[in-house]
Symmetry: C2
Subunit: 165 residues, 2 copies
């Protein structure tokens, strides 16, 4: 995937998120991309991201689903508005609610694939469903409601970064 990730379009000032901010050196730096109608992200947990031995920590997967869903909410809204992701004003979503269901233990030592789909776009509110799989088996089902970031949380945001920033 040589395209630019959704998160790489986030304005500088709102790119420090622990889960997906490109400016958070301690964070997970999740990257999400379109694959047709679905948004996909791959993440390989670190050895210390375990829950019980041999299985991935549920909180990590909830976090990945959260960030992937918010990125997908933004990308989908640009699409719905017929806008490029580097057009202004920038769109950024915060999580209103998140629910996850762990359908089977998720094995360590393999990349996790997240696939998100738009369930609903309603004004500033976007609902995204996400499946998380390991080795081709669906392990976690998630859904998140994103809310377009209120202006008071995104003060003095500069226009979009250029692609080499």
């Amino acid at each position: 995937m040589s395209q630019r990730a959704f998160q790489d379009y986030y304005p500088e000032e709102v790119s420090h998120c622990y889960g997906c901010g490109r400016h958070n050196e301690y964070g997970l730096q999740l990257k999400s991309y379109w694959d047709g109608e679905e948004a996909v992200a791959i993440y390989e947990p670190q050895p210390y991201h375990c829950g019980v031995a041999g299985f991935v920590y549920g909180g990590l997967m909830a976090s990945l689903i959260d960030c992937h869903a918010m990125a997908t909410a933004a990308a989908a809204t640009y699409r719905a508005e017929g806008r490029e992701m580097d057009s202004d004003p920038p769109l950024r979503f915060v999580t209103g609610s998140l629910s996850v269901r762990y359908v089977r233990p998720t094995p360590m030592g393999t990349p996790l694939e997240l696939r998100g789909r738009v369930k609903e776009i309603k004004g500033r509110k976007v609902t995204i469903s996400v499946n998380l799989s390991a080795k081709g088996q669906r392990c976690v089902i998630g859904e998140a409601v994103g809310i377009q970031m209120p202006d008071h949380m995104m003060p003095n945001v500069e226009p979009h970064p250029t692609s080499d920033s």
Copy 2:
């Protein structure tokens, strides 16, 4: 709180969880305690645990709620069975589902207080509700369903650690 935390009763073999395992040196090492009918845990996010600037990352809070709820599920089951937490066989729960609702942005730079309550104990399944507050204001409402860990996920577990282990 000088008591021993719920998580300090987990058997050695299942104490590596990123969120609450005392043997995970890279993890959050959450500690939960009884306060009457409620279970309480305090966690102070690191500066890099931000979402957008000035506010705590939602995935971190989902993770804390998850671990606090599973610890409370175990502690509540011991209570319901009239057992001490260091009695055998040990109890350990895994998350079946988790839902969180972010009711206001959670400020950075202050400890987070989690308060859990048992909603239902039904066989091996325990539902816990959790409120997460900062500076006395409720910021996140969570609920998690814990399932008593299946034997195949907890192989060869030794009896409980002693209190100085």
